[in-house]
Subunit: 306 residues, 2 copies
């Protein structure tokens, strides 16, 4: 086999940087500004944002502080202001009486509805300037941009298999497939943390704005063989190409461990996953394990470590 050349350089072209900045400038000035100014109405922006963030479901002050990045004192006062305006009500958290939960009153909900109506009208007016074909084109372009910007912001990191983020992902994964497998899923068959740490394997978590939204595990099957397991992507982060990123990351970790091959299995119902594996260079092989949930087995030969 021919030795591969160095990985081709992948520099960001200045044209692309310019395009992003140009768009950014235009968009924030024309659209963002509109939104904020018109929507704020006669309410200070901070309050409007807070009201919006509390939203229909309500939220604890602690969450609001984290989400909006506000100072505790500042938030406390703003909530009080909204409260005296009759827009929110505040109560003690049932489980932990240190926390306070804010929720919208009827008046607060009416205000949110009105804000939404205004924003919709604004967006509609903007879109109304285009004919149906162009409008569809714009919508597609915005969706594509949204998807790719999100993907660009997601980072994949190696974490300890016992870390809370890893466990959270595995729990979500287990719940997810328990719902999808006709026979359910027994969480006891998940990898153990020691299987995916150090030289034995690896555990990857994908983070979007600090929140774990995907994971994947690599464990040793033999001296030169690894197994990829539990590749999972949060429903809210699907169709971004994240599964592929996780798979790539796991293969890279496998190469680092001098594995020459990685295998994996999938359940019969996970057809999209099977398609992804095929598209990523995996070929179907005979059963190699006794996983009761598996119906298809794949493997991929890996290049040697550089």
């Amino acid at each position: 086999m021919k030795k591969m050349g160095p990985v081709p350089a992948d520099p960001v072209s200045t044209d692309q940087v310019t395009a992003l900045r140009r768009f950014n400038r235009y968009f924030t000035r024309r659209i963002g500004a509109l939104d904020d100014h018109y929507l704020g109405q006669d309410r200070p922006l901070g309050e409007a944002r807070l009201l919006f963030e509390i939203g229909g479901k309500g939220a604890s002050l602690r969450d609001l502080r984290a989400r909006l990045g506000l100072d505790a004192g500042y938030l406390s006062r703003m909530v009080r202001a909204l409260q005296t305006q009759g827009l929110v009500h505040v109560s003690v958290h049932p489980g932990d009486s240190r926390l306070r939960v804010a929720g919208l009153t009827a008046a607060g909900e009416a205000e949110i509805r009105e804000q939404n109506r205004l924003a919709d009208a604004l967006a509609e007016g903007l879109l109304g300037g285009l004919d149906a074909r162009r409008r569809a084109e714009l919508t597609t372009a915005l969706d594509t941009a949204h998807r790719l910007l999100r993907l660009a912001a997601i980072t994949v990191e190696t974490v300890d298999g016992a870390s809370p983020d890893a466990r959270a992902c595995l729990d979500a994964y287990a719940a997810d497939i328990d719902a999808r497998f006709p026979e359910g899923f027994d969480p006891a068959t998940l990898v153990r943390p020691e299987e995916v740490s150090g030289e034995a394997g690896a555990f990857l978590v994908a983070y979007e704005e600090g929140r774990p939204v995907g994971c994947g595990a690599l464990r040793r099957l033999g001296p030169r063989a690894g197994e990829i397991r539990h590749v999972w992507v949060d429903p809210g982060a699907r169709r971004l190409g994240l599964g592929r990123r996780l798979l790539d990351g796991l293969e890279q970790r496998a190469v680092e461990r001098r594995f020459t091959v990685v295998r994996l299995d999938t359940h019969a119902v996970l057809t999209e996953a099977q398609e992804m594996y095929r598209a990523c260079g995996y070929t179907e092989i005979p059963r190699y394990d006794d996983n009761v949930y598996a119906a298809h087995w794949f493997e991929k030969r890996l290049p040697a470590a550089r």
Copy 2:
């Protein structure tokens, strides 16, 4: 000929509104915020924006006030602040000594350069999260969105042919084609205002954010025939589909005047224009006028007024 049905309704779907709002929310939060916060550095945002707006070419305080929408007093003080920091210099306008013109000092320019460097680095970091293929896809999507958002914001209005905006467009048009025609162009052959007003004809100007960026004239050729002339789009607003919008608008005005046909001519070098006319349903006809600049003549039959 079969009578045409009513123009199909062209409502904006809620999905499209949602997509725009979703993108807007995501983008302003993730990208816009980044930009502003990081770029402001240790300088208040107002000052940073002002510095940027003054830019390389400098600007009068009056312009700055209009562009940034600031109070006169507020601006005056901010400029003074930048001046004492050695970032801008202020001088009296040569033509009108009521006006003051602000320009960047060397230090001011250095700061702008640094801001640009930071913004570029930020954009580059963001794009770096994607592979080359996806990056190209994102760039295309952003360009498309930018183009369509601009187009959506452009309004086409009927104005008096003698108005300053109309004259400005015609002057720009004349200068434009004077440069493109090998034999030059004599502005005396432009339409006269009385030819394009009232029942005789119409003059349309396209506005982008208040600035005229395109025009088109319709004048009467005979009892049932009109002529379209001077369809022009500012170089900065080309490739948006604006020419077509102007043409549509002029045809609509022609229908309102019960013209059954519109004609137009074009110069040999204006090949894109010829293509547009063909694409819009115009067919080439023999010479119908004695315009010395014309090499191709077109016409289009119009539907009856509703």
